[in-house]
Amino acid sequence: MLLFRSEENVNAWCAAQNIPRRPLINLEQLWQLAIHWYANRLTLESRRPGPDEMVSIFASLGLTGPFWDPKSDQWK
């Protein structure tokens, strides 16, 4: 994933790379993802979220649909 100053810059990058425009997230959403994934990474209890847990985390941040579903087969 890449960071952009604006949505316009995302659109220009996608056009230049001939890559479909995908979902965008803001920095607050990104910070919440970072906390969910990494806040206990240096501890004994550390583990990676499972697929269903990932879907739940994404949904809590308003990120829904097959793009955010690690079990989706829509993208094969």
Partner: protein, 150 residues
């Protein structure tokens, strides 16, 4: 010792060195840190890769390319925290280093299209507001297919 315990010991040793030094250690360094034979550490690296917790350097099982959120090599996402420089694998992981270390952090990144320098900062447990956005080019179902690209 069961594999799971060994894997955990190796993982914690690796992250402890990384947090303390800013450098992701190789198998020899982890071996010295936790007092295990290096071959066992390399085996644990492979197990942890299978669990999607580490990514060994392609072609070199003694080195780690990614110990998320940390990168084993310099990247475009350097993070300053606790008086050290770390490298993140991506913009998510740049914030992830602050989350993992539970401290303020500043990351220097750049706009993916224009190259304009951008600064991401975590202060007092919150991101300093900016109008930037992150674009995910790869759907979640394929993040692990090519993690270096993702």
């Amino acid at each position: 010792m069961p594999d799971r315990d060994l894997d955990t010991e190796v993982k914690l040793g690796l992250y402890e060195i990384t947090a303390a030094t800013g450098q992701v250690p190789n198998s020899a360094q982890v071996s010295r840190k936790i007092g295990l034979d290096e071959s066992e550490v390399i085996a644990a690296f492979a197990h942890l890769h299978g669990k999607r917790l580490l990514l060994p350097e392609p072609g070199d099982p003694t080195r780690i390319r990614m110990a998320p959120p940390f990168s084993g090599i310099p990247t475009k996402f350097p993070v300053e925290a606790n008086g050290k420089r770390y490298y993140a694998n991506c913009v998510w992981d740049a914030y992830g280093i602050a989350a993992a270390l539970h401290c303020d952090a500043m990351s220097h990144a750049s706009d993916g299209q224009t190259g304009e320098p951008l600064v991401l900062e975590i202060k007092n447990g919150r991101p300093v507001p900016q109008t930037c956005v992150a674009h995910f080019a790869v759907p979640a179902a394929h993040w692990w297919d090519n993690l270096i690209f993702t």
